[in-house]
């Protein structure tokens, strides 16, 4: 176990250092520094939530596709079926599965993103 410090703590330390520099930077660099701090925050969320999100996604794909497999092969199988139209918007459970998987991913990528149901 690697824990003194944990990876999350290192990421947090670098992000707050970048934040402290930001006010002194010219506009373009200040913008990129904010992007960099956001990138680290994303890494932090991925470290914390990524393994559980991948596991949940895999379980949902197993249920939808009706067979076992690792996440990459399940994802590829689903993509093949969607590309050919074998599965589509009318496939029971498809949209609910896709939505649950994206909600897990967006919680890592952009937790503040607001998307109105209904589009």
């Amino acid at each position: 176990m690697i824990e003194h410090p944990r990876a999350e703590e290192l990421v947090e330390a670098v992000a707050s250092w970048i934040e402290s520099l930001r006010p002194s930077l010219p506009p373009r660099d200040a913008f990129l520094a904010r992007v960099a701090a956001n990138a680290l925050a994303t890494v932090g969320r991925e470290l914390a939530q990524g393994p559980a999100a991948d596991q949940a996604t895999q379980a949902r794909l197993v249920a939808l596709l009706g067979h076992e497999g690792d996440l990459a092969s399940l994802n590829a199988d689903l993509c093949d079926r969607l590309e050919t139209g074998e599965m589509g918007v009318h496939t029971p459970g498809l949209l609910a599965t896709l939505k649950a998987n994206i909600i897990d991913q967006i919680a890592i990528d952009q937790p503040n993103y607001v998307s109105q149901p209904g589009g």
Binding site: L32, V35, A36, N38, A39, T42, N75, A76, L78, C79, L82, E83, G85, M87, G88, V89, L94, L95, L98, K99, N101, I102, I103, Q105, I106, D109, Q110, N112, Y113, V114, S115, Q116, P117, G118, G119
Partner: protein, 329 residues
């Protein structure tokens, strides 16, 4: 080679109606386009704020989605002629101006930052009127005679082909994008006559004045001919609502106001389902563009922190697409 922008603008000042320039400042620069702000001084009406746009990189007119700056200048004049608000064209630069492919426009007062427009107190009073105004302005833009302009044409199927090819070439496998490509291909809207489109009409490319609303439509470089619903819908893509997702038009207004404004100003009748189809296609396109920006980092072509982070915006378009597909397209 570094171009002496200040020197060339000083020399050009008499042709712009002044005696010199001040406050020359670079606003932004992409890989191939630069924007500069400056003040023309010594002219009869007093100091005038202006914007120089110039191409700083290579341009392949046949392959690029962007128009030339000469076409952009012609579009700005044509839009002005039909009554759409623009930053007025001051000069289409000549080779002897020394600025390369470039044009100069007036600078219109207002705000372009989407977040401020959708949430700022200063814009609270004007916000409810913006969607209708945008509809009216788009109807005028769509009335521009396109024959004299050097514009490409794109329809829904062509856009799907183009973006699916990019997606396939990226090697990414993303279920929602697969579903969206297949579904949109199978549900193409019936064709409408082509019109001149702005091509990037969204919150962020509109100069908004807190009292009068849309003061200028900016950034004409993606103009092309196509389905009028493409322009109406791009403004509604959730990625440009800046967190005000419940207000589908730009984060400030309602679909019906946009469509009413469009019809009032003489636009052809556009149904909401048609608009929503194109909105989904817009989200799909933006998702693929985000993937492309990540790819330009991954390939080593653009080493910045910004590009890979944009890749993490693909999931926002996927959530938006699922929300659209849930209610039906």
């Amino acid at each position: 080679m570094e171009v002496d922008i200040l020197g060339h603008l000083q020399a050009l000042a008499p042709k712009l109606g002044g005696t010199g320039v001040e406050g020359v400042q670079r606003l932004s620069g992409g890989a191939s386009m630069e924007t500069w702000a400056f003040t023309l001084v010594g002219g009869a009406p007093g100091p005038a704020e202006m914007i120089l746009r110039r191409r700083s990189g290579p341009f392949n007119a046949a392959e690029s989605r962007s128009t030339s700056l000469a076409t952009e200048a012609a579009l700005i004049q044509a839009a002005h002629h039909v009554g759409a608000p623009v930053a007025p064209l001051v000069r289409l630069c000549e080779p002897e101006d020394g600025l390369g492919e470039a044009h100069i426009t007036g600078r219109v007062a207002g705000e372009t930052l989407g977040r401020k427009i959708v949430a700022g107190e200063a814009f609270a009073a004007i916000r409810p009127r913006l969607a209708r105004q945008c509809g009216q302005i788009l109807a005028r833009i769509h009335s521009i005679p396109g024959e004299a302009l050097d514009l490409k044409t794109a329809d829904a199927l062509g856009e799907l082909d183009r973006y699916e090819a990019i997606y396939r070439a990226s090697g990414a496998r993303r279920p929602v994008l697969e579903l969206a490509f297949h579904h949109l291909r199978g549900n193409l809207p019936p064709p409408l006559p082509d019109v001149v489109l702005h091509g990037d009409f969204r919150n962020g490319n509109l100069m908004i004045h807190p009292e009068t609303g849309v003061a200028a439509v900016l950034d004409w470089e993606l103009s092309h001919r196509g389905d009028p619903a493409e322009d109406l819908s791009w403004l509604c893509v959730n990625s440009w609502r800046f967190g005000r997702s419940h207000l589908p038009v730009g984060g400030f207004g309602h679909y019906q106001d946009l469509l009413d404004g469009y019809a009032e100003a003489g636009g052809t009748a556009i149904s909401l389902p048609r608009l929503r189809y194109w909105q989904a296609l817009g989200s799909l396109k933006w998702g693929v563009m985000c993937l492309m920006m990540y790819a330009s980092y991954a390939s080593g072509a653009t080493p910045s922190v910004e590009r890979p982070m944009i890749g993490r915006r693909v999931s926002e378009t996927e959530l938006d697409l699922v929300h659209l597909l849930e209610v039906g397209l």
